[in-house]
Symmetry: D2
Subunit: 345 residues, 4 copies
């Protein structure tokens, strides 16, 4: 029985962790914290959890966290970095869904997040929790950084191409579309239904915080510095990310079976689903599931590879991936509790 604590479970990644963990018989949720809501029943905030989660929120400084085997942080950035060291010192493993430990480069992190990092020494220790790349390191991770939602969809889409050196890394494009839940459960005018519904717009054009995280990954897989243009768009739906990726082949004169490259790369991956040639993914195919669904095609007249990659931003893009990492860290079946079929329609 794995004893679990969750710090800050008042947002969407928090409720999603609870949705996925509540039915499990091998996991016991011991404590859920929130500074603002301590004393409130979790199921009063999230009525879908009535009868599934009977806990109330605890104060964040509760000693109970130290009795857990693993603590998830479902907090905004710049929170985990303050208290993670205490947990690690007491032998508690940490899975951080926030951005605090995703970048290895402290200066880069501080530039993009505009905060002094309070645990910079942990940046080198943290394991970046993309199992399709780092499965071996995840096994022994003490501190695990769960990838962001855009970075998950985009890295999994480019990965097979970059690892094999198939594409010209000088002008990669990632045109990404996200549901509104990616903005979190906080009151903001831009996320109101009356503002975000029946509309679509780009944002963060000059630079989104997920860009350095994506680039860090792509550079590693490519073994060289890639040039990536990343334009995210806010889309009128709750869940889902659709990343449309564009890259020219490096050697168009050499025939390559891209479909086979993708199928081979992911053939043992439980949560990456390469669609048959001619099928294209839709975000609803993975709503509520931990899958990344990918299609690849090549437009010879333009020498352009187009990859379509979809995830549920709250599952494979956050809480599901966090649990996938937990499963690996604790020697469980990696798919345990995650073989949920997507909700369609």
């Amino acid at each position: 029985m794995i004893k679990v604590g969750i710090v800050g479970a008042t947002g969407y990644t928090g409720v999603e962790l609870l949705r996925l963990l509540a039915p499990r018989k091998d996991v016991s949720i011991k404590v859920i914290t929130s500074r603002e809501l301590q004393g409130t029943a979790v199921a009063d905030l999230f009525p879908n959890l009535r009868g599934h989660i009977d806990l109330a929120y605890s104060a964040p400084d509760t000693e109970e966290l130290f009795a857990c085997d693993v603590v998830f942080y479902a907090t905004p950035h710049a929170v985990a970095m303050k208290t993670v060291p205490q947990l690690l010192a007491r032998g508690v493993r940490v899975i951080d869904l926030s951005a605090d430990f995703r970048l290895r480069d402290r200066a880069l992190w501080e530039k993009w997040y505009n905060v002094i990092h309070e645990s910079p020494d942990l940046l080198g220790q943290a394991v970046y929790g993309l199992p399709e790349v780092n499965r071996k390191q995840i096994v022994d991770a003490r501190l695990l950084a769960v990838p962001g939602c855009y970075p998950t969809a985009i890295q999994l889409g480019f990965l097979p191409l970059l690892e094999k050196g198939l594409i010209d890394t000088g002008s990669l494009i990632a045109d990404a579309k996200s549901g509104v839940s990616g903005a979190g459960r906080k009151a903001s005018v831009g996320s109101l239904l009356s503002e975000a519904s029946e509309s679509l717009h780009a944002y963060g054009v000059a630079g989104h915080r997920h860009l350095p995280e994506i680039s860090q990954g792509l550079n590693t897989y490519a073994g060289e510095e890639v040039k990536l243009t990343f334009i995210p768009h806010l889309t009128p739906m709750i869940r889902g990310i659709h990343a449309t990726l564009y890259a020219p082949l490096r050697n168009p004169e050499v025939a390559v079976d891209l479909q086979a490259v993708f199928e081979e790369r992911y053939k043992d991956e439980p949560f990456v689903d390469i669609l048959p040639k001619g099928q294209f993914p839709a975000t609803r195919n993975v709503r509520g599931s931990n899958r990344c669904q990918i299609a690849v095609c090549y437009l010879p007249q333009n020498n352009m590879v187009v990859v379509l990659s979809v995830i549920d931003n709250l599952v494979k893009g956050a809480s599901g991936q966090a649990i996938q990492n937990m499963n690996i860290m604790f020697g469980l079946d990696e798919s345990e509790g995650l073989q949920v079929v997507a909700l369609l329609p």
Copy 2:
């Protein structure tokens, strides 16, 4: 040329006033105020107004308001009551879209709004701006209270029945469904797309602030106290109110042609559209328009009259009706600038 000022045009009723007034050649918008946004171009907040409205927000205490012929208040409740007397004193006519002057009974208002009314003497002077009932008084109104959105849809639906004494007033039911824009353009978790989309729920079951306003009207038309159960529901769409009204006939044994009653009552009304028998209204039929579309039918086996009444909550339920009142007050064609065809689809 009517010189217009708008106080507090940073919300949805404000931008809607501007959408409807901007194209008019007989109206000149002189000043638009906002405490928080003074100096900001209105079109920076509402980019649909670029090229249509070139003003920036002024401070709310600007002298320019006094030079206007009419000032609209598009503010939350308990704002207009503070400054309206100064405008009236200077001869400026006021059209208040907020709730401040809708109830004649001060105690009732203070009970429901939980604030001391600062201009209680004006409650008796204000004209309730439902043209289908009060057209004559509106002509000379100095202070006009624009009806609320639910009250407009519900009163227009019950009106012909009550005026003729056709229904049993002991158990009226108004089951109303509203789009999210009714909650205004303020950051709140409950109005987030991720919360309000793909869901529907009732609220204010124990008592909604529009209830006393509706009852005040219905009591007047009935000439007796009606008992109304009013349950509003939040619906996953931006605009629109659909009121489904239920009432037993008072004398079921007396045959009455309800279709004719409604058609006759509203035959000269430019903004009430009685559908032919067998057609039912949809909120999208009136999206962006100033119409109230109504169907009536009778279920003889249950002795139940069912009235379906739809409006766009921001137009006939707020800004369009405000302008309709302005047109009457200034002796213009009542439909001037309001014969916009609804946007469908």
Copy 3:
């Protein structure tokens, strides 16, 4: 291991059956039929099922159905009545999600569905599968009629009141709001996103096919004929039914604790969740789950009981309830495979 067949699984209740049955280790799906799509992989039609369901559609007359322990019909009405007798004759139990066996009265059925019933003798044998009422009869059912979506939400809401004779049955009102998936997965203009989104309208005002089914139930619970006005509304969301029920107390002078009545009636029901006083249900609280969530309140000034009842029309309103019945029929834990947490947001 229960061997399952599904007839006609090309619609939403079909894919929902598969979503809920696929993960089960005690159920084996043997055959899925479709006349139009025989030979097509089920997962090609519903890509959320990739890797979960490996079957292709079979012709509807396949012998394989006879080897099943139970066959679900997820067909339009007037299909099951043609072939169910053959299955029953071969000892296969049948769970029919369509309307064919919901009414006991043949003439009534033929009037509302405008078809001659081809298996009228089975109308008396079929068990109406509302476990909260008929659990005992369900155990031995050979032919089970799964209740409709509106009937489920509305009957569960009125049930405690009628059983105890608390309300005046002379003027019950059920104002119901449904998501568009209730109209099924068939091409129709009225269900297009461009038609049904951003709008709400009533339909079936003069009489909806679910009315006789609801009345049959309510009459039984009341022990007398009730008069019900039922107005369904099409709501711009995919899933969910919200029924708002109105009824006067029969004896308003007698104090009654309605909250206790509801909690007591459903205290052992795994899928009926009575909310604490002051909380109101939202359809998203039950999206993807088999729950019915109910709140009850009383407005003394009007002597009006208001019940709010929500379900997911495809789960408790169809496929989830079908499986709940299967669990009972086969002596399994009634909740097996159904303790899914609703997907929120």
Copy 4:
């Protein structure tokens, strides 16, 4: 008074023409045809037109079309090509909203539309109705081909860059997102709310029918053959197209003020709105309006120009642009009847 006929006004471009033309005093709608719906009142199909359009549908072969000054075709492709010659022969000007006369190359048209063109000789006479490019030729056009929705948004976005030879035409990318109304008002499973809502997916990846039309335009503006990768996406909203365009600068070492290039190119255009630097367009900014709103920015580290271009697919992408062309053809103010403010929210 311009006498107008509309052929095939049963879809969304038809109702949109009527919405925009109905209020005009200088236009008289004489006849609206539909083979299927002849005799039906137009306002019965589109209840937003009640009181605005009093005509019923006529048979398509009505003589009345010949008495019109101009006839709009709001039909699927391969309809206009059959009967347009008769109208032209009788001196009636034609504005075709379908694809029949958009391509100058007959073979290309027949390849993409898979039909024999029945009026190939008219392909050379038809004027392509993008006023920002062809205003002079439009004045005298007898047969006007209204550009498609994607082509309008994409061409206006690339135009200033191509005319000045600023970008490398070897790898242009247009990632476009469209609302569902682009698929028209015909029953199809893929456009159902239950299928298209809460989801996003690419389609036509291997080649969309708008590609040759876009390329024809871009090649002309560039004066050379451009290589364009065009990926359209279906987005869960009714109206709107957002085109995100990517192109490398041809000479990155030469400083160029892209903002000024765009502002200068469109400074006299009534319906192209270049946003100030740092603002990005949203489709809702133009909902219901005839505007194209554009932002341009340059990412120097990647040498990438990103253009964001939004339109309402039914207005500037179809019926609004058709009317803009009519205004030019008849010597009216180009903006007549089109200065509608977008509906926001």
